[in-house]
Symmetry: C2
Subunit: 289 residues, 2 copies
């Protein structure tokens, strides 16, 4: 998805197409943006990409998509290709970091720093915004793969993660639900006992993120979280698990306003890319850009 | 412990005494520092305190020790008392945040940002340094209480945490070892099968911190980590658990230099307090000070 915009209230143009080969996909992206660049209407482009990405500015492959199961995309120089073709500043980050940034600028976590955005869908990933920027340390966080309690008695499923088996993603992502039940998350009835397990896994992970990152707001997006009945159950379970240990009014009394769906709906990622572009346009010396 | 210093190479004076009542303890602290203040040798004092603390500068009880089982210390205005008596800037943080800061300034994580310091002793706590400062969000992180896998078959111990039972601290702290085995960690022989469980709990927690915080260096301090044979076992287990998912040379090849004991030995906390004082002396407008 390509968008030309100032902010969510000023969208000039947008285009959607299916991702194919890197060559064809990037050619179409360049073709879409070229006239706006030529007309002087674009100062910077933000790329919110599926990963894994090389986000280390000191690396010779900075701005590349790293080894990925997506056919043909391993080792693709996304940032360099766009930069050479369009000659504008290119900000480059993961889709989930961009979504987290978009939400913190215009969405449900606006005015709350630090904040956490979690997507629970085909995979599980999180973006943590601190001091207005996505946290990147040694590498980009991969917090969907944390270890959480898993009772083999209550849930004999061994987990779907090829790296870790029953990590959080291996237990609670969309594919984990489908492998376990033979049904997509969207098709599992609200009354199914399974949802208690799903809620427990999500709440365990949120407890860990709360205790480790202490976000002022948590946003849950992604396909699995389209099932809105999960929100009150997750909030209740998080409070039970914390058991009064985090003595903050936000968590103890206002948890309905602490764990929320995205304020930008399904647009968190694309508007997050605009937010990335705005940040790079403001900064001249940040080595990440 | 009270220290007057410029940096670890310039310690002017120090004094140790047992903590008693808040009144007597703070009176002795003030008495120790007063002559240095009067002589103009002290510009700022850093306090590295046991918790829980109120670290929110907007709170009316900022700088207080909050509800604590330590007799008489609940609701003690440590920062205000020192400030009124000594009339210098007072920086105030947890002992573990201070230790993390001291290590990042002069110890094993020097030059590595972000970094993580974890203490595994009577409790388990972590301090995360990002951009040269301890991370504080909604509250101070309490990452010792995260949920991790616990097999009741391999380890029937129900955990010692009064809030969460078998959270990380409830499974792996000094008191958890003692309750489970009837021996202090220091007395459990190196050959005991128990250590495999301890290593697994610590490695599980480290995996979660690595995936969530992506630190460039991890330092393990505290009483339990005095057993040095644990380090190579923990490193090996962390690498096994991550299973190649974090493709960083630091983790894959150089893990012996990634997970380390404190560079400042048992002085991380007291030198960390000096580091806190140095930071506040440099900053005039940070509301945390």
């Amino acid at each position: 998805m390509c968008v030309v915009a100032g902010d969510p209230g000023h969208i000039l143009d947008e285009m959607r197409f299916m991702t194919s080969t890197p060559e064809e996909t990037l050619r179409r992206v360049v073709g879409f943006f070229q006239p706006f660049v030529a007309a002087g209407q674009i100062h910077a482009i933000g790329v919110a990409s599926f990963g894994p990405l090389d986000l280390n500015p000191q690396s010779p492959t900075y701005g590349f998509i790293a080894a990925t199961p997506k056919p043909g995309w391993s080792n693709t120089d996304v940032r360099g290709t766009l930069q050479r073709a369009l000659q504008v500043k290119i900000a480059f980050d993961t889709d989930v970091n961009a979504a987290a940034l978009g939400e913190s600028m215009w969405g449900a976590s606006k005015g709350c720093d630090p904040s956490l955005y979690l997507t629970i869908g085909t995979g599980i990933g999180g973006g943590y915004i601190k001091d207005g920027r996505p946290l990147i340390g040694l590498l980009n966080p991969e917090m969907g793969h944390i270890r959480i309690p898993h009772s083999r008695e209550l849930d004999p499923f061994i987990g779907s993660c090829p790296f870790h088996g029953d990590c959080f993603e291996g237990l609670a992502s969309g594919p984990a639900i489908e492998k376990r039940l033979g049904l997509t998350g969207a098709a599992v009835p609200e009354e199914a006992a399974f949802w208690d397990l799903e809620v427990d896994y999500i709440a365990s992970a949120l407890m860990n993120y709360i205790l480790t990152l202490s976000p002022k707001k948590i946003i849950l997006g992604g396909g699995v979280m389209q099932r809105e009945f999960l929100f009150p159950k997750i909030r209740r379970r998080v409070r039970e698990l914390l058991n009064g240990y985090v003595s903050s009014k936000s968590v103890l009394e206002d948890i309905d306003d602490y764990i929320l769906p995205p304020g930008l709906g399904t647009q968190s990622g694309s508007l997050g890319a605009i937010a990335l572009a705005m940040q790079i346009d403001d900064s001249s010396d940040n080595p990440r850009f």
